[in-house]
Symmetry: C2
Subunit: 360 residues, 2 copies
């Protein structure tokens, strides 16, 4: 498995302490662990002596209240990725369609249930934007499951709710499950208006997954959730569920969701400022084609022919900077890369490092 | 799923604060979260901003060093129960044999892979002790997987290494995988001499699972491991593995394993004293048949015909005490119960509560 955020590997391979690595390869909120959560963690250490609530009622209540969802439709898991695997195991599709380039774990999960997998490729000439009409024609061929990520990882492209509506309709009509991973939706300030979370109630072939990892700066805590109203899938999820998958600390995250307000505001403020600044500085370098991103990361293509992303990654590691080489995403080559938007100082260091690597 | 340790349910159903419940239904070390772990937790909160090491090298190293195992044979998971599910998914047995009465999750995991499941019942008239010769004959009928728990949950019965050897030999010879859950083995002071952990190296059809939950008083943290040297199973585990299943806090548990020594000693000291005291007091009551237990819990049968375990459980909840009604274990009826051995004060309260319920 090759993913971003592997600072342990860099620490071991290059002998650079993880504390000295500026990790632009994982798309994590640089504001870090919310203060409300830190307090909860310290105060609940002795609670580890109890099993977490096997039903996670408080957590589901809080998620339901926050996102206006029925608790019965909420499924919580050990990180968004576990929810994706569990949903795919519950649907057990014979034939699936995955919209690429995208997060590699959808395919790994589909391989796990021995699904026939077809690829639907977003086109570079269309800036990797999803052409829903074209996708509808493809879906009309007949699939048990269609998987897409919105906003998409690694491209950062967003498909509006309006555009996704005919997709929901077709899938519902054809009995095709539509799994949309909204792991980065909460970085969009008006994200809850674009999200299809609340639509799951009315469209029982729609499955949405979410992650708390990225927005709340806590990939180490492991917490995500999914929403689904399909009785068969919900029953199957219940049947196959491993008990106590969400640890006690993560099970208390509901309090953070409901009580932490300044963290959200600060995140939107940071992202607005830093994204504009960072993209502007990157553009000034003239080294990359920069794609329009709706998320907290930037997807780019090297314009310079003399260097590929693998080499660029190696050069930047010398500056203790880690980027995501996107050449192992389906449909991308060794000229594509993804970098997270971090805090001002880190972003500045990235610009300086790029200037140094390219002598500009 | 009905399991012990569901204090959240009691809190909600009976309106008793979880802090006031004496939980004898979960078999957790009452010494609580080790001090070394508490320090690590407090000091690594800000590390949550990084993904845990996707390979868990440090954790596997520590487990390897502690239990004298090759790191290549160690598989870590989000609690012992996840390791059990993952092992069973990797073996994907068509026909399995489970030794009952036992932990219900083996069967749930087997149902998940649509295995044909047969039951091998331990006999009440043999004090629920495993008759290996009899089991060998049964296994000779041909199975893909045999599952047993040693020491067994809920009976507390232990089968010696000597007795298990012919079982390993037959399984290896017949190509039958033998999964032994040693979740409670570390409560036995000489447990590592009885354990089959290190035998996995030489017997590639032997699979052992372990939990850190019980011994280290941390069911809320979620950490367990398994050992296996079978190339096919190891490859399959790798293929099907969900990334980042072990959270950052649990991934740092290796330091506790290697550096915490007094916790182990204190645990053996506590168990030796309290087990003798508690069993003696329980016997004096004359209410139960008490089975010989090698673990940190006591399996008993009500002698009194006027009350069943469900009623006893309800009565004890009035005293804010929770026991494990074992009537939903296969082969047991509403006269069997399991209680954890807790600290002196708690055990004393249990005895008092029993005296009060039975007016003795």
């Amino acid at each position: 498995m090759i993913h971003g955020g592997n600072v342990s590997e860099i620490e071991k391979e290059y002998g650079i302490s993880r504390k000295e690595i500026l990790d632009f390869s994982a798309n994590i909120n640089p504001l870090g662990v919310p203060e409300t959560l830190k307090k909860i963690l310290v105060n609940t250490i002795s609670d580890l002596i109890n099993y977490p609530d096997i039903n996670y009622d408080d957590l589901k209540n809080a998620i339901g209240e926050k996102y206006k969802l029925s608790q019965d439709h909420i499924y919580v898991g050990n990180g968004g990725v576990q929810v994706i695997f569990d949903f795919i195991r519950a649907v057990k599709p014979k034939k699936s369609l995955v919209v690429h380039p995208t997060f590699a774990e959808y395919e790994r999960a589909l391989q796990g249930v021995e699904s026939k997998i077809e690829e639907y490729q977003l086109k570079e000439e269309s800036e990797f934007l999803l052409n829903v009409e074209d996708l509808l024609q493809k879906i009309d061929e007949g699939y048990d499951l269609v998987v897409l990520c919105n906003p998409n990882n690694p491209t950062g492209t967003l498909t509006s709710k309006e555009k996704l509506k005919p997709l929901m309709e077709l899938c519902q009509k054809k009995g095709t499950f539509l799994l949309i991973d909204e792991a980065f939706m909460d970085f969009i300030e008006a994200g809850e208006e674009i999200s299809l979370l609340t639509d799951c109630k009315d469209w029982d072939h729609l499955l949405i997954t979410r992650s708390f990892t990225k927005f709340y700066g806590i990939p180490g805590l492991r917490l995500g959730f999914g929403v689904c109203s399909h009785h068969g899938v919900l029953n199957q999820l219940n049947k196959q569920m491993i008990p106590w998958t969400v640890n006690t600390f993560a099970s208390n995250f509901g309090k953070v969701l409901l009580e932490e307000t300044s963290y959200e505001d600060s995140t939107y403020q940071w992202l607005k400022n830093e994204k504009a600044y960072f993209i502007n500085e990157l553009e000034k370098l003239g080294l990359f084609k920069i794609y329009q991103s709706s998320a907290n990361y930037i997807f780019m293509k090297l314009l310079n022919d003399e260097i590929d992303v693998k080499t660029l990654r190696e050069e930047l590691i010398k500056h203790h900077i880690l980027i995501r080489d996107c050449s192992n995403f389906k449909g991308l080559d060794n000229r594509f890369l993804r970098i997270a938007i971090k805090d001002f100082k880190a972003n500045q260091r990235m610009i300086q490092a790029l200037k140094s690597v390219f002598n500009c």
